[in-house]
C-alpha cells in the first residue's frame, strides 16, 4: 500500500513533460496518422497505404534508409574522433569555444545555402573544381556524382559531423583521467584501455547519438531538394511533392501515409538500437 502511493507520486514528476509532449507532438502525430486514412473528399480509405507500393515510392524509401544509415555511421565516427580531439584540449580554451560554437551553427546549416556552398566549391563550376582542372584533375570525369546520392552523402556529412560533436562531447568530457591511470597501473596498453574501459563506457552514448544522426538524416529535406530537384529520390521529397504539387498530383492523404511509413521505419531502427545496446553491454563486459 505504501509502494502503490509512492509509485503514483513518482509519476507526477513526469507529468509536465508528458502533458506538453501530448499536446504539441503526440496530438499532431495523431492528426497526421488519422489523415492518412482519409481520401481527398474526407471519406475513409486504405488506398493511401496501398499506393505505397508504387515503384518510385519504394525506391525513394530504400534510398532514404541507405543514405541515412551511411551518413549516420560515417558522421558518428568522424564526429566522435573530432569530439575526442576537442575534449582532450583545454576546457576553458579559445579553441574549444570556437570549435564547439562553429559546430553548433553548422549542425543546423542546410538547405539551399548549404547546397550552394558545395556547388560553389566543388560543384561543376566551383572554384576548387576549376582550380583542379588547371592541374589536370577532372573531378567529374566519371559523371556528375554530386547530383546523385553520392553527392548527397558528402553534403549531409557537413551537418552530421558537427551534430555528433555537440551531442557526443558531454559523454567524452565524462572520461575521467583516473580510468587511464587505473588501466596503465594494471599494465594495460592503449588498446586495452579503449577496448575494456573507455569503449564500453562510451558505447551507449555513441549508439544513441548514431541513432539521432540516422533520424536527422532521414527527415532532412531542404538540402536534397536543392541539389536534386528532379524525380523525388528520397522519401521526404515524395512527401513534399504530394503536399505541394500544383499540377494536380496533390495527394495529402498519401503524403501522410508516407509520413506514417517514416515513423514506422524509425520505430524499427530504434528497436534495433535497443537490442544493439543490450548486446553491446553484454559483449563488452
Amino acid at each position: 500500500m505504501m509502494g502503490g502511493r509512492r509509485l503514483s507520486l513518482n509519476w507526477l514528476g513526469a507529468v509536465p513533460f508528458l502533458v506538453y509532449v501530448a499536446v504539441f507532438l503526440l496530438l499532431p502525430t495523431a492528426i497526421i496518422t488519422a489523415g492518412a486514412f482519409l481520401k481527398g473528399d474526407g471519406s475513409a480509405t486504405l488506398s493511401n497505404f496501398q499506393d505505397l507500393s508504387r515503384t518510385y515510392v519504394i525506391s525513394a524509401t530504400v534510398n532514404s534508409i541507405l543514405l541515412s544509415a551511411l551518413t549516420a555511421i560515417v558522421g558518428a565516427s568522424f564526429g566522435a574522433l573530432l569530439a575526442y580531439a576537442i575534449a582532450t584540449g583545454n576546457p576553458q580554451g579559445l579553441l574549444r569555444r570556437v570549435v564547439v560554437s562553429a559546430a553548433g551553427v553548422l549542425a543546423q546549416f542546410g538547405g539551399v545555402t548549404l547546397a550552394f556552398a558545395f556547388l560553389a566549391s566543388i560543384g561543376p563550376a566551383g572554384i576548387v573544381t576549376l582550380l583542379a582542372k588547371q592541374y589536370g584533375l577532372y573531378v567529374y570525369a566519371g559523371g556528375f556524382w554530386i547530383y546523385d546520392i553520392r553527392g548527397l552523402e558528402l553534403v549531409y556529412l557537413y551537418f552530421q559531423i558537427p551534430l555528433m560533436v555537440l551531442v557526443f562531447l558531454p559523454a567524452v568530457d565524462g572520461i575521467k583521467p583516473q580510468w587511464r591511470e587505473a588501466a596503465e597501473s594494471l599494465g594495460g596498453t592503449t588498446w586495452h584501455y579503449w577496448r575494456y574501459v573507455a569503449g564500453p563506457l562510451l558505447a551507449p552514448a555513441f549508439l544513441g547519438c548514431t541513432l539521432l544522426l540516422f533520424a536527422n538524416s532521414f527527415s532532412a529535406y531542404a538540402t536534397a531538394n536543392a541539389l536534386i530537384n528532379q524525380g523525388g529520390i528520397i522519401l521526404p521529397q515524395q512527401i513534399a511533392n504530394a503536399l505541394s504539387s500544383e499540377v494536380g498530383l496533390h495527394e495529402p492523404g498519401f503524403a501522410k501515409a508516407m509520413a506514417v511509413t517514416m515513423i514506422v521505419i524509425v520505430v524499427m531502427v530504434t528497436v534495433l538500437y535497443s537490442l544493439l545496446q543490450r548486446r553491446t553491454s553484454k559483449w563488452l563486459q
Binding site: L82, P91, F116, D173, F218, T270
Partner: protein
C-alpha cells in the same frame, strides 16, 4: 621506473597532439572551404571583369524588416532554450532516479519530432495554431511551442550524454541526506555537474531556432530565415551574403553564450563522500 613512466607519458601526449593536429586540419579543410567559396561568390562584381566588392554585404543593412525578424528570432531562441531546459532537465533526472521504466519511452518520444519531416509536422500543428490564434495569441512568439518540440531530439541526446557521465543517484541521495530540497538538488548539485551538456543543448536549441524555416514559413510567420529567403530574391550576391551573415550572427551569439560556462569546479563525488563522512561523524 618513474623516468620510464614519464617518457611513456610524454610519447603518449605527443601522439595525442599529432592526432589532434591531423583531425583539426582535416576538419578545418572540410568545413571551411565551402564557407570560403560562399564568401568568395558574394564579392563578385556583376561582369566577370568587374572588381570585387562588398556591395552585397552593404545592402543587407538597408532592409528594415530584417531587424524585426532578427529580434523575433533571438527572442524565440531564448524562450525555446529556457523552456526546453525547464522541461527536460528535471524530467530526465527524475526518470533516472525514480522512473527507469519510462526511460525508453521518453527516449522514443524525444526522437519522434525527427521522424516526421517538418513539412508534414506543420500539417498536424495547424489546428493547434488555429485554436491558439483565436483564443490565446497570434504573435510570432507562439512558434516557441513548436520549437521546443523540434529541439527535443538534439537536446535530449546532449543532456543524456552528460547525465550518463555523472552518478546522478549517489549525488542526489547524498545531497538529500544532507537536507537539501529537490530544488537545491537540481539547481545546485546536478546542473553544475552537467554544465557542458546544458551548454551544448542550448547551442543546439539556439542554432535550430535561428536556422528554422519550414514551420515558420508554412504557418505564415516571418522569422529570420523566411525574411532572408525574401531578401535573397533581390539578387544572387545578396541571397548568399545574407545567409552567410546569418551564420556569422549565430556563431557570434553562440561564442558569447559559451562565455557563460566558466566551468564551475565540478563537485567531485569523492569530495561529497568526504563531506558526508565528516557530517555523520
Amino acid at each position: 621506473m618513474a623516468a620510464v613512466t614519464q617518457s611513456f607519458q610524454r610519447t603518449r601526449r605527443q601522439k595525442l597532439q599529432v592526432f589532434r593536429g591531423v583531425i583539426f586540419v582535416a576538419a578545418g579543410l572540410f568545413f571551411l572551404v565551402p564557407l570560403f567559396a560562399m564568401f568568395e561568390f558574394t564579392t563578385r562584381g556583376r561582369l566577370l571583369t568587374d572588381p570585387r566588392n562588398l556591395d552585397a554585404w552593404k545592402s543587407i543593412a538597408t532592409y528594415p524588416d530584417l531587424i524585426a525578424a532578427i529580434v523575433a528570432s533571438v527572442e524565440l531562441a531564448a524562450i525555446t532554450s529556457f523552456a526546453m531546459l525547464v522541461l527536460l532537465v528535471p524530467t530526465m533526472v527524475w526518470v533516472r532516479l525514480r522512473l527507469r521504466r519510462l526511460n525508453r519511452i521518453i527516449e522514443f518520444i524525444c526522437l519522434l519530432p525527427l521522424t516526421i519531416p517538418a513539412i508534414v509536422l506543420v500539417v498536424g500543428l495547424v489546428p493547434m495554431y488555429q485554436w491558439m490564434g483565436i483564443n490565446f495569441s497570434d504573435s510570432i512568439l507562439t512558434l516557441a511551442f513548436a520549437y521546443v518540440v523540434l529541439v527535443l531530439p538534439y537536446c535530449y541526446r546532449a543532456l543524456d550524454a552528460g547525465l550518463s557521465s555523472i552518478d546522478v543517484k549517489t549525488l542526489s541521495e547524498a545531497a538529500r541526506s544532507l537536507g537539501a530540497s529537490w530544488f537545491t538538488v537540481m539547481v545546485r548539485v546536478i546542473v553544475p555537474n552537467i554544465s557542458s551538456a546544458i551548454l551544448n543543448a542550448c547551442f543546439l536549441s539556439v542554432a535550430l531556432v535561428l536556422g528554422e524555416y519550414t514551420i515558420a514559413q508554412n504557418l505564415l510567420y516571418n522569422n529570420l530565415q523566411v525574411e532572408i529567403a525574401l531578401l535573397g530574391r533581390a539578387n544572387a550576391g545578396v541571397s548568399i551574403a545574407v545567409s552567410a551573415a546569418s551564420l556569422l550572427f549565430a556563431f557570434v551569439l553562440l561564442v558569447l553564450l559559451s562565455l557563460f560556462n566558466r566551468g564551475r569546479g565540478r563537485l567531485r563525488l569523492d569530495d561529497l563522500k568526504q563531506v558526508m563522512r565528516t557530517e555523520r561523524g
